[in-house]
Subunit: 245 residues, 2 copies
């Protein structure tokens, strides 16, 4: 049995996230349906590296699947790219060991969150960044975000409804950069709780707006109280950027 | 009478170009209709700096209009940004001399043309770049494009159907840059004929593909023969980038 790892990217605007659902169009379903045709009708289930929410994008997303078909990797890649809608793209396919699993083999991930900081909207970033009209204090955000780095219990940064018992995660790095009207927040870690990045971003923005005092992020983490963190930032600014194996 | 200069940007995908037409939705019409409401019902005609074709974008587009209404500039800007669809954005409004005219006062323009050079499509550049699947020879393109610079009769680079008698234009600069899969061609000049930038780009790409021999661009310009130049490149890669006054 061949085990195949696929790297893809997608614009999540039109989809109800990655994971297959009943009665909603998801990226997994679109890929599985098209892959099945390419594999000559084989029913195929792909294993994604992660769930993503409605409207969230991926610049690098990995999934894996098994097949006995002897179609060349380039044929799978080209076949999928011809068949898939233009908001989903296959970047590469490779053969991997049989014990590789896109989700369980994953050692960490990097997300970016994009803000368009300007009074005027940006017609080219519609659904691709959070349009933030307030003054953005870059130096403050670069200082505050450091509190996230390290191993912490991130229960305060997890939406209710999550099924995760263990809420301890390690954040490798968190940076904030600004280039003109575009701000990019970049966070990497060994794993992320439900809505964790979006709540981290929302909390930083509340600090930026003075709704949460500067210097209190470590206390909020320590409190494990979702009520003390900020609002969950909009999905459209979030991109899964890298998956580490 | 106040004379007001407005700088805007737009994603041209959904519009039949800038200029008002019967039976087709254009950017001019959308702006005029919304501006008229903001000006308390005054019928207003805006003067655009340039026509743009269906699907062409603008990162900086100027238009001007006259009004006797005493609405503050910030009010016009904010009013328009609240009312306009998200693919048209107002960047600034300023009061200018009564003899300023967005089209006739224009001293030159800069366009950029974006290519996405990769086998895989880019879900984030759909309708925003030309997806070019062939190998792109950057050094060759950087060398060849120099033939456009200077004052020439660009009749060979003008679509038929143009009403321009004088086809001499001065190109100030033409550059080609590549950053990963993104190629940007940048051209500035005192004026451009109908489809001129798209034909320049299409001709360079035919040289890249060997369909036109390298080193013959000066001859093609000299020939004034549209039949010797390349194909008109797709509209979706073209952006009006700057307008000089």
């Amino acid at each position: 049995m061949r085990n195949i790892k696929v790297t893809a990217c997608y614009r999540g605007t039109k989809y109800h996230g990655f994971q297959r659902q009943n009665n909603a169009v998801t990226i997994q379903q679109i890929i599985e349906d098209n892959l099945s045709v390419i594999l000559g009708g084989q029913k195929v289930v792909i294993q994604g590296c992660s769930r993503t929410d409605t409207g969230v994008h991926a610049l690098e997303y990995c999934f894996s699947f098994q097949t006995e078909r002897e179609i060349p990797l380039k044929g799978i890649e080209r076949g999928l790219n011809s068949a898939l809608p233009k908001d989903i793209s296959i970047l590469s396919c490779e053969e991997v060991d049989e014990d590789f699993h896109a989700r369980f083999s994953c050692k960490g991930k990097e997300y970016i969150y994009k803000l368009h900081c300007s009074e005027s909207p940006n017609p080219f970033m519609q659904d691709l960044a959070y349009h933030y009209r307030r003054k953005f204090n870059l130096a403050l955000m670069q200082e505050e975000c450091k509190a996230f780095i390290g191993t912490h219990d991130f229960k305060a940064f997890c939406s209710t409804g999550s099924d995760k018992d263990i809420t301890v995660r390690t954040i490798y790095d968190f940076t904030v950069e600004q280039n003109g009207t575009e701000v990019i927040m970049r966070v990497s870690g060994d794993g992320f709780l439900y809505n964790m990045v979006r709540i981290m971003v929302g909390t930083l923005l509340w600090i930026n707006e003075g709704k949460i005092p500067a210097g209190t992020l470590a206390d909020i983490i320590e409190s494990k109280d979702r009520g003390r963190a900020g609002k969950t930032a909009l999905a459209c600014g979030l991109y899964l950027n890298k998956v580490f194996y």
